[in-house]
Symmetry: C2
Subunit: 252 residues, 2 copies
């Protein structure tokens, strides 16, 4: 059952005890609760507090105990904007108050997830932290679409990039040399199809490269759109989150 | 409980029925049964036949029903060498005989796993196939070592490569341009430390780049060795499977 989401202020004083708390950074995968790892489910079931990204669905949060506090610290929560520093501080405070804290992140904590920053903050504060990996969007999308990410016949390497917040200058230049025909490129949060198409073409990727856009991977309303890089700019605007796979393993 | 492993010949005639079978390509993750997805566990529990890689541990295979046939089709099974074509044919035959077949692959089926070839063969034979993603070694290793794979402060992209079976010529040339300081490189099956170090240096990676080798990720005998690219050639030989992470997110 979905649980009420307490306010940010409430979460800081959930539980006080003399035992030391701990933080688990847990990957929630793409959304489908069946794509959580067994370990993620087990840690969720022992949580006193769950701090989650906006994209984690209610069905996943419902795995936490009914008495656990569930706090949305996502960037899209529509309320007060919570900075990364505030999230770090909240994790430290909750753990030092003796809580078992699950920091639940979409996909995997260490792939475009800012998990590194949270681990740093926790270790600096001498708070015990453990990381539970999750199915990152690229891997979930490939499984859903039955498209390999590497294939010894045509794609010997895999590059994961994000178009989100990438400075214009590094965005394309860093992709140059990566766009050989034996590399599958996955773009997280590709943004406007026209922009990402231009950047991939500028980086030297061939026009005929097959492209697959996948929206809301593993959710009931998942959508896919398949095209070539030449025609990618005409792709429809799909509901976020969206992922773009470009490479020879995508067949028509 | 571990189950007896039947011979290759036996497996082809496990079950005959009039209903159509199906194949699930399932990622087994790095080895720890807790790192299977819930979906992988559910599919294993319904399997009539499990065809597995050599690296999948007994604790994972034990999740299959006690009456399921468990077949090791791994390259290290020490018996008759089984080709990829034979595995493809076996999957088709078993499914057409009406079996629920789980093809259990270490890590994720689509990341250095030949899942693409198996999907192709099954679709050509008009056999229904579904893919269940798994935690690939790079992501499992990062979680175990608490090392981020991307970090907006220092590593905006992630490249996964394999040194196994890569022709000498493409091996280094394809990595050139990838070795900018903002890319984390993960090398699957890096082989001899000296060779891979030479190749990364030739590709332009800096000598000071931190490197982490991880052996038998998530297993009881997991080992890690941290160094720099300059000193990587002196790394000890660790028990396989080994993974190498090179990049700025590894701290000392």
């Amino acid at each position: 059952m979905p649980k009420a989401v307490p306010s940010f202020a409430e979460a800081g004083s959930v539980k006080t005890s003399s035992h030391r708390g701990k933080v688990w950074l847990v990957g929630a995968g793409p959304g489908d609760p069946e794509l959580l790892t067994v370990k993620a489910v087990n840690r969720l079931r022992c949580a006193d507090v769950v701090l989650h990204d906006a994209l984690v669905p209610r069905e996943v949060l419902a795995l936490a105990p009914s008495l656990a506090r569930i706090v949305n610290v996502g960037k899209r929560c529509g309320q007060k904007h919570i900075t990364q520093r505030e999230i770090n501080n909240l994790l430290v405070t909750l753990a030092k108050d003796g809580n078992n804290v699950v920091r639940l992140k979409s996909g995997d904590p260490f792939v475009f997830g800012r998990g590194g920053e949270e681990v740093d903050a926790l270790q600096r504060a001498d708070v015990e932290v453990e990381v539970v990996p999750g199915i990152t969007a690229a891997i979930a999308a490939a499984a859903a679409a039955k498209v390999a990410l590497t294939d010894r016949r045509c794609a010997q390497q895999l590059l994961l990039v994000s178009a989100h917040h990438a400075p214009e200058k590094t965005f394309s230049s860093q992709w140059e040399g990566l766009t050989s025909s034996n590399t599958t490129i996955v773009v997280y949060m590709p943004g406007q199809a026209e922009q990402v198409a231009t950047k991939l073409l500028q980086a030297g990727m061939e026009e005929k490269t097959p492209c697959l856009m996948i929206s809301r991977i593993s959710q009931a309303d998942e959508q896919r759109f398949q095209t070539t890089l030449a025609d990618l700019s005409q792709a429809p605007l799909l509901p976020p989150p969206v992922l773009l796979i470009a490479g020879a393993t995508i067949r028509f």
